[in-house]
């Protein structure tokens, strides 16, 4: 057993981003629970997960526990965790050490607060908080890598050397899935956009519909008995739009080439009310904002309200510039390793053509032939890279000496977190 290095102590791994929370047992190859970090609530009640914002309830609002990849509302986040542990995983947290992930721009206050919740509320025997880029590198089997994480609300570039984040090299901007969706909408021509907007109706509101030919006016009736709140409508619409973007958009592998892209197949998408439309060039324009946001007027960054992130979003810069900046901030001798181990992770990395595009862009900027962009072959590994890394780390025999135990927490208090988790 020792030769595999694994010794499972049934640790729990929780990884929360701006939009998604993944949780499961260390040692497994996919998270058991993947739920939104959003919740729905009125004055008295709050609902989470699959039973949360996806379900229509009269007079309920939708809000997010997270912002800027950091916990924004700790009370609700604690409830979200409780929901995850008791209703989804159905575990008694007193029996399971808890491994948490954090982005590189997490703050001291945030991580101490999470540790406090873990020990005082959930009574975990051990706790550890690990950087999600380090874990993504572990998931790819590397201890030195340059991680490009493109999530829902941000793109970050993090150099990892020997399993440690090089803090000076962490750069990020606020371009993520949400901004891409916005950009996709903006790039549609006016008639197509207004068609889409009028037909953007969540399925919960639709009473009945009949199938029609593509391009024809949809035949449907809406329910008249319900009156959704604005926040719920926004959530539901953005969910439809997210799905629309994920299933139609792609990125040109070799830079913008109008002629070649016109030859690419058209994609059509059917919205919940039966309306269907075709998308051609715009579906490539959408993702260009990832590579160079400047021409697209990206939305301004909204900071976390609990405590602003420890590393600020840069003014939106082209991604190759970000990478170059990050590499330059790293120590000279590690640059070579970093450049040949670039790994793209995060939900948006599943966009077709993205890793080829980034590879090509980097060739052009760095003119270094050793640049190598890796990206895990299957989408589960890309989307849940940091959770997977946590799953590996949490089941390693040699890792068990690193847990912060209850005793240590009682003895040293908050400072133990930054003493142990570097």
């Amino acid at each position: 057993m020792v030769i595999y290095g694994a010794d499972e102590v049934s640790a729990l791994v929780v990884s929360a981003g701006s939009t998604t929370l993944c949780a499961g047992y260390a040692g497994e190859d996919a998270p058991k629970v993947v739920i939104p970090t959003h919740y729905t609530h009125n004055q008295e009640k709050t609902f989470f997960g699959d039973n949360g914002p996806d379900v229509y309830r009269d007079g309920y609002q939708v809000d997010n526990t997270m912002k800027d990849s950091l916990v924004d509302d700790f009370d609700k986040f604690t409830e979200l965790l409780e929901h995850t542990f008791t209703h989804c995983l159905r575990v008694n947290t007193e029996d399971h050490p808890l491994l948490f992930t954090e982005p590189a721009w997490n703050t001291q206050k945030h991580r101490e607060k999470i540790a406090e919740i873990a020990f005082d509320k959930f009574n975990v025997p051990g706790f550890y908080i690990a950087n999600d880029s380090v874990l993504s590198a572990f998931a790819a089997g590397k201890s030195t890598a340059l991680i490009i994480d493109i999530g829902a609300e941000s793109t970050s570039v993090t150099p990892i050397v020997d399993g440690f984040v090089l803090r000076k090299g962490v750069v990020r901007n606020n371009i993520g899935g949400t901004q891409i969706t916005n950009n996709y909408l903006n790039s549609l021509d006016p008639t197509q956009r207004s068609n889409l907007n009028t037909n953007l109706i969540p399925h919960q509101l639709i009473e009945s519909k009949t199938t029609v030919e593509p391009g024809k006016n949809p035949q449907f009736t809406t329910r008249s008995d319900i009156n959704p709140s604005e926040s719920w409508m926004n959530w539901s619409k953005s969910k439809i739009l997210k799905d629309w973007r994920e299933s139609t958009s792609a990125i040109s592998e070799n830079g913008w080439d109008h002629g070649a892209l016109m030859q690419r197949p058209i994609k059509s998408y059917e919205f919940p009310n039966g309306f269907a439309d075709n998308y051609q060039l715009c579906r490539f324009v959408a993702n260009e904002i990832l590579i160079n946001p400047i021409p697209f007027n990206p939305l301004p960054h909204t900071p976390n309200t609990f405590e602003p992130a420890s590393i600020n979003c840069s003014y939106p810069k082209p991604l190759p510039e970000l990478i170059k900046e990050s590499i330059q901030a790293a120590e000279t001798d590690s640059r070579h390793h970093l450049l040949s181990n670039i790994i793209i992770v995060g939900g948006v990395s599943a966009t077709p053509g993205l890793s080829e595009r980034i590879q090509n862009e980097l060739y052009a900027v760095l003119s270094n032939t050793r640049v190598k962009v890796h990206s895990p072959a299957n989408t589960v590994e890309r989307k849940f890279a940091s959770w997977l890394g946590g799953s590996m780390l949490g089941s390693l025999g040699t890792f068990h000496q690193l847990w912060i135990s209850q005793d240590e927490w009682r003895e040293f208090g908050n400072p133990i977190v930054s003493m142990r988790c570097k």
Binding site: M1, V2, G5, D7, E8, V9, S10, D95, P97, P125, G126, V161, D162, F164, L166, R167, K168, G169, A330, E331, T332, D333, S334, R335, A364, S367, N368, G397, T398, H400, Q401, W403, S405, Q406, D407, E408, E411, K422
Partner: protein, 426 residues
């Protein structure tokens, strides 16, 4: 494991070898092996091994945290197996006294040194990480940090008493750090990294060009060497031959008395007999030399010329000489070999002459035609006419075969003097 479950070893063997590998090993092996299920139920009678969800403590921790894992009941209690991986690179640290005595440095305060050493311990001498987290005073380069730490290490090694002198020296060697050089190296690496694409392509082109020039040069030199060799061969031989005669006379006396030269001991009587009947016994450890028996090295050098014994014979016959000697005494044979050698050389030189003459004619032809087009002469043609190519150097006068007859020996023969001695002994 193996004791619990009985595998059908035979079927396992065949089924585990990939069929294509099997095909290589045995010609008559069946192309498809019907795999029998290994008999996994062989151990049916036995009870399944017992495991227990058990708590354990990790000796690598100081707080005695109890975690739980699955444990085999038949295994002995042993300390947690992963605890022994809890190792460090054992960085150096110093005592109060040691610092005061020898580690003070004007550019480093005690506090900053402490901070540096703390970081080194914290990150286990991972320099890129240490440098990244170093937040004392901006402006310290990684080389500054390394220089300081390695300096401290060296001083500590020297001061701490060690039983073994050589291991101390070895340690000192390991902690040697040349800051200037390291900075220079970094500078080079950085400038390599900062090259623009244009610079890189330019560099690549230059490199290819340089390689090409080098190759041309080598080829040119190769051709010239070959020419020089063929041309100078006969001259050398003449010189050597006359010099060789001197050597032969001067070494005559010791040679005749030395018995080591003779592999088989000859009695005085048989020697007299031989002398009387003009019998020469070849010493067996000297290779037999003749134009028809060229040793491998000389054959290799002459391979290009391809002067075969056949050609030599033809040439001799054309001069009215037969290839058989009527009285093949040692002296005659030697002379005859000389004639053959000379003929071979004659052939070679003739051929070289022809080639050079051809090239000369060609070059002249170009320059003539270039002159004809006097108004627009290409640079190549001009170059050819202005600088005659090395192959068109004045050719040497061909020596008459009679001149070298009887005197010339194989120029490539390193045992030339021996050969001469042998002849002298007649």
């Amino acid at each position: 494991m193996a004791s619990d479950i009985e595998f059908d070893v035979e079927s396992l063997k065949t089924s585990q070898i990939p069929t294509n590998l099997l095909a290589m090993m045995a010609e008559n092996a069946p192309s498809v092996v019907a795999a029998r299920n290994p008999n996994v139920y062989a151990g049916k009678g036995k009870q399944a091994r017992k495991w227990k969800w058990e708590s354990f403590t990790n000796p690598a921790r100081s707080d005695g945290l109890q975690l739980r894992h699955w444990k085999r009941l038949d295994e002995f209690d042993e300390p947690y197996p992963y605890a022994r991986f809890n190792t460090t690179s054992e960085p150096y640290s110093y005592s109060e006294d040691e610092y005061d005595r020898m580690l003070q440095d004007v550019t480093w305060s005690r506090d900053e040194t402490d901070y540096l050493v703390k970081l080194i311990h914290e990150f286990d001498v991972r320099w890129p990480v240490i440098w990244d987290r170093y937040e004392w005073r901006s402006g310290r380069t990684l080389e500054d940090l390394k220089a300081r730490y390695f300096d401290i290490c060296r001083k500590l090694i020297q001061s701490r008493i060690s039983s073994d002198e050589s291991s101390t020296n070895q340690l000192l060697q390991a902690y040697q750090f040349d800051k200037e050089r390291e900075m220079m190296r970094k500078q080079y690496v950085n400038s390599l990294f900062a090259r623009t694409p244009q610079q890189i392509t330019e560099e690549e082109e230059l490199y290819i060009e340089a390689k090409r020039i080098e190759q041309d040069e080598r080829k040119w030199r190769c051709e010239r060497d070959e020419l020089v060799r063929t041309v100078s061969m006969s001259r050398n031989e003449k010189r050597k031959a006359s010099g060789g005669a001197d050597i032969a006379t001067s070494t005559l006396a010791p040679m005749s008395t030395s018995n080591e030269e003779q592999p088989h001991k000859r009695t005085a009587k048989s020697a007299a007999y031989d002398a009387q009947h003009y019998i020469t016994r070849p010493s067996s450890h000297l290779p037999l030399k003749s134009s028809s028996n060229i040793p491998p090295f000389s054959r290799a050098t002459k391979l290009a010329q391809k002067i075969t014994p056949q050609r030599i014979r033809e040439c001799l016959q054309s001069m009215g000489l037969s290839d058989k000697l009527q009285y093949p005494t040692a002296a005659n044979v030697a002379k005859y070999e000389g004639v053959k050698e000379a003929t071979a050389q004659l052939q070679e030189i003739r051929r070289a002459h022809e080639r050079v003459a051809n090239e000369l004619r060609l070059a002249k032809g170009i320059s003539v035609s270039a002159d004809e087009r006097a108004t627009a002469s290409t640079p190549v043609a001009r170059a050819a006419s202005e600088h005659p190519t090395p192959t068109s150097t004045p050719k040497p006068t061909t020596p008459a075969p009679e001149n070298s007859m009887g005197l010339s020996t194989d120029s490539s023969d390193p045992n030339e003097s021996n050969d001469l001695n042998k002849r002298r002994k007649l």
